[in-house]
Each structure stands twice: as structure tokens, then as C-alpha cells.
């Protein structure tokens, strides 16, 4: 049995897809799969372990094989672009590939555009503009591939810590990234909405907590405020102390977000002590990291409802040797029919 990583389960998720796409409908597409990696080569040991242990894969006929997983490593942006543009379309047609995985999309862009020295002074703006146009091109390329060949394109993205004005630091306590124009509009908007809590949010009606949702971000027109609804982190109306500290933002920003059709966030939270969720202000003794809990959250998608704010609609899962497995809800929460209550039990 391999050690299970402490990551959120991204790689395991992608590896499962590589194999499940090979089995016949309704679960798969009976096709070959392509794995384009930018960092490390395809983890074949994990893949073969999955193949040997997962019950669905074992019982499938014909059985998926590693032979049908084609992989290639693209160490830099130039080769990535070349491979995607000229080699991938040919490979798709020749081998009947219906699933393309790009893991990860951000790595080469970060290496290329965020290296030290590249981002000093005026250069950084030009750099970002160039990166944006490259990202739009990449998006168009992948979309065309997906549409013309009717294959699934799955890209893995990294996350970075989010520094928000919700933290304690007064230096960071200002709104950023909003143009003067929107700021002016925002003032009037803000005056109207300051008195009551945000009317569009159903949670506001609960009235159980006195704190106003999202009140710490003052400018509703700013990216800082609005990104919570498309990044996957921060849309919890009543975040706990630890949730705020563990805020993440997917790499490549708003531009990349507009290029994708569906975003799935894999969120993990540490569990400290015996069965105690880390969200609690647990002051007795030193907390011991026991385990990780993981959730899959649909942030936005063209074909299915998003999971909704916080983790209440997200599916909790475990990473086992034989792949991802959802954790059944009944055993976890105490006697609550309402997901909302379960969420509160976790957070208070």
C-alpha cells in the first residue's frame, strides 16, 4: 500500500479519470487517454495500483490498461505550446483519444512569467499583459480541441494562499484591484447595502449570527470581494477563524477563469486531536494533526448546479488505495436532516 499524499487529492482524481475513460459507457468512453505533464512524469506506480485494486476497474470488460494511457512531459512553455498545437491534434485522431489531461496548467506560466527579475517595475505590467494573451490563446486552443474532437479536457491548477483584507494586519486592510470608475459606483452601492445584510443571500435570513456576512470586504465591486464566487474559496457567509486563514486562490487569475467551462475545487482541512475538527478554537493542550478531511466542490459548471456556499453542498471524500471514495454523510453529522445544520456543527 502506498502512502497517501497529504494533498487535496488532485492527482488521484486525475489518475482515476485516466483509467475510467477507458471503460465502456455509461462510466467511460472506451477510448485512449492522454496525460500531458509539466512537472513530473506520469506516476505509473499509483496508476497500476489503482488498476489492480479498484473494484469497478477490475470488473470492467475490456479491462483498462496502462498501454492506453499516453503521456508526455512538457518542461517549458515553448514545448508545451508546440506539443499542444501540432502534436496533440494528430495524436488524438490517430489513437482515438477522448480525454486530455494537462497537469498542471500554471506551472510553466509561473516559471516563465513570475521569475525574479521579470517582474520589476514597469516590466511586470507588460509581462502580465503578455501572459494574459498567452492564456487566452491556450484557452482557445483547448476549447477548439474539446469541441472539434468532442473530447474532455481536464486541466489541473495550483492554488496560492490568498492575502485578503480579512486578516488582522492593518497594512493589508485596504481594498485593491478595483478601477477608480467602479470604485465610484461602489460607494453609492455600498451606502445602500451597508445597513442591512446582502439581500441576495439566503443565509442572511438565518439571523443566528449577528455578524454581517462578508462585511470585512468593503468594496462590493472589487475583485477581492467578488472572487469568492468563482475561485472556490471564501464564499462561506460565516467563516470561522481558521477558514479565513486557509483561504486559497487558484493560479492564473480572472483571465484563466474566463477560459474554462467548469471548475472543481478540492478542499482539504486538517483534523487535530481525537476527532476534533481544527476549526474549533481548541485550546486544551497541543493539537495533534490527526488526519485530513477533503471535500469536492463544484464551483461553476455548464451542466450541473454549483455546490453552493461553504462546504455544505460539497461532497466529502477519502483517498484510499483504490481511489477516491465519498464519505457517507449519515455517519458524520448528528441527527440533522438539514445540511445547513451540519455545516454549523462543524464550524461553531
Amino acid at each position: 500500500m502506498l502512502t497517501i499524499s497529504s494533498g487535496a487529492g488532485k492527482t488521484q482524481f486525475l489518475l482515476t479519470l485516466l483509467l475510467s475513460a477507458q471503460i465502456p459507457a455509461p462510466r467511460g468512453l472506451s477510448s485512449s487517454t492522454l496525460y500531458i505533464s509539466t512537472e513530473s512524469a506520469l506516476p505509473t506506480t499509483r496508476l497500476s495500483q489503482l488498476l489492480l485494486t479498484h473494484p469497478v476497474l477490475l470488473s470492467a470488460n475490456p479491462k483498462p490498461t496502462l498501454d492506453k494511457v499516453i503521456s508526455i512531459v512538457t518542461p517549458d512553455l515553448e514545448s508545451q505550446d508546440h506539443i499542444l498545437r501540432y502534436q496533440v491534434p494528430v495524436a488524438i485522431r490517430r489513437r482515438g483519444i477522448r480525454l486530455i489531461i494537462l497537469d498542471s496548467v500554471a506551472a510553466n506560466y509561473r516559471a516563465e512569467f513570475e521569475r525574479p527579475g521579470a517582474g520589476n517595475g514597469q516590466n511586470s505590467g507588460a509581462n502580465m499583459a503578455q501572459r494574459s494573451s498567452e492564456l487566452v490563446k491556450l484557452g482557445q486552443l483547448l476549447r477548439d480541441l474539446a469541441r472539434d474532437e468532442n473530447c474532455a479536457v481536464v486541466v489541473a491548477n495550483q492554488v496560492a494562499d490568498r492575502f485578503s483584507s480579512q486578516g488582522r494586519s492593518p497594512v493589508l486592510n485596504r481594498t485593491t484591484q478595483s478601477s477608480p470608475l467602479t470604485r465610484r459606483d461602489a460607494r453609492t452601492l455600498l451606502d445602500n447595502s451597508m445597513g442591512r445584510s446582502m439581500p441576495s443571500l439566503p443565509e442572511a435570513d438565518l439571523g443566528e449570527t449577528t455578524a454581517m456576512p462578508f462585511k470585512s470586504t468593503m468594496d462590493p465591486m472589487s475583485l477581492d470581494h467578488q472572487q469568492r464566487w468563482f475561485t472556490g474559496w471564501g464564499d462561506d457567509p460565516y467563516p470561522s477563524h481558521l477558514t479565513i486563514k486557509n483561504m486559497k486562490t487558484p493560479s492564473l487569475g480572472l483571465i484563466w477563469t474566463t477560459q474554462i467551462a467548469c471548475r472543481i475545487a478540492l478542499i482539504k482541512r486538517p483534523v487535530y486531536g481525537p476527532g476534533v475538527i481544527a476549526d474549533e478554537e481548541n485550546e486544551s493542550g497541543e493539537p495533534v494533526l490527526k488526519n485530513w478531511r477533503r471535500w469536492m466542490k463544484v464551483v461553476f459548471a455548464p451542466h450541473v448546479m454549483p455546490s453552493g456556499p461553504g462546504l455544505e453542498g460539497a461532497v466529502e471524500f477519502d483517498i484510499k488505495g483504490e481511489g477516491l471514495r465519498a464519505v457517507k454523510k449519515k455517519g458524520k453529522s448528528r441527527k440533522t436532516n438539514d445540511d445547513d445544520d451540519a455545516e454549523h456543527a462543524l464550524q461553531t
Binding site: 497529504s6 494533498g7 487535496a8 487529492g9 488532485k10 482524481f13 486525475l14 482515476t16 479519470l17 475510467s20 462510466r27 467511460g28 468512453l29 476497474l57 480525454l99 496548467v105 490563446k137 484557452g139 474539446a146 469541441r147 468532442n150 473530447c151 474532455a152 479536457v153 481536464v154 486541466v155 489541473a156 491548477n157 492554488v159 472556490g232 487558484p250 474554462i260 467551462a261 467548469c262 471548475r263 472543481i264 475545487a265 478540492l266 482539504k268 486538517p270 487535530y272 481544527a278 497541543e286 493539537p287 495533534v288 494533526l289 469536492m296 463544484v298 459548471a301 455548464p302 451542466h303 450541473v304 453542498g313 460539497a314 461532497v315 471524500f317 481511489g323 477516491l324 465519498a326 457517507k328
Partner: protein, 136 residues
Amino acid sequence: MTDLTAVLPGFATHQYVRLLPSLEKNLVTTADLLTLDCVEIAKRAQLPLLDVKRLCNAVLEALQSHLGISENEELQQSSLLRKTGKDILNSWNTISTLDDDLDLALGGGIPTGYITEVTGERQVFAVLAVLTNAMC
């Protein structure tokens, strides 16, 4: 004009070979060809007006037939933007995550024909997490 091959990979440029270098030199993009007045482009690139007009029309037509919105039925190559609901339903495929609950939340799995992003933390050092918690 360097972007013409990127925007319209299948566009036959050989008829317009004489025009392209001059357009390139004067920084006329494909978007310019579609949006600016032919007279202006001809003046900017110092080219015969009729040739420019022919090129603009050809580009427009190629773009429309590529997207499947051309008026001319014979030129219709594909019907990218003219799918009926039934077409979409029939070509609807998903890849399962091999777990029923995860599939349910994803509406069956990862759909074909779209870009799906999976984002999340990578492996982190547990020690770090414990330290952060101890500090606060």
C-alpha cells in the same frame, strides 16, 4: 496579419500573397480586416482598394462558414453554432470518477467538449500546519 493563420487555420492565402507582407508591415490584424473600412486599410497599407476589399470579404466568409453561420448553404462546413438541443443531448458524454456520490455532484462526471479545471492544494508539509496552529 501574423494572426490570420491562428484565427483561420484553413484559410487559403495563396491568392492574397502579394497583399500580406504590406499588411503585416503596417500592423493590420485580422480583427482590423473585419472591423475597419476597406478604404482605410488600403490607405494605411498602400494597397489597391479592390484587392483589399476582396481579401476582407474572403476572410469574413471563411470565418462565417467556419462557425457555421454562413448565409451560403454550400459553403457550410460545420454547424458549430447551429446545434439543436437534440444534437447536444446525443453527443453528451461524461467520464465517471468511479464513485457514485462524486458523480452525482458532477452530474455524471467530467463532460466531453468542455474544459474542466480541477484545482486544489498540493502536498504540503504537515509540520508547517502544526506550527501555524501553535503560533496563534
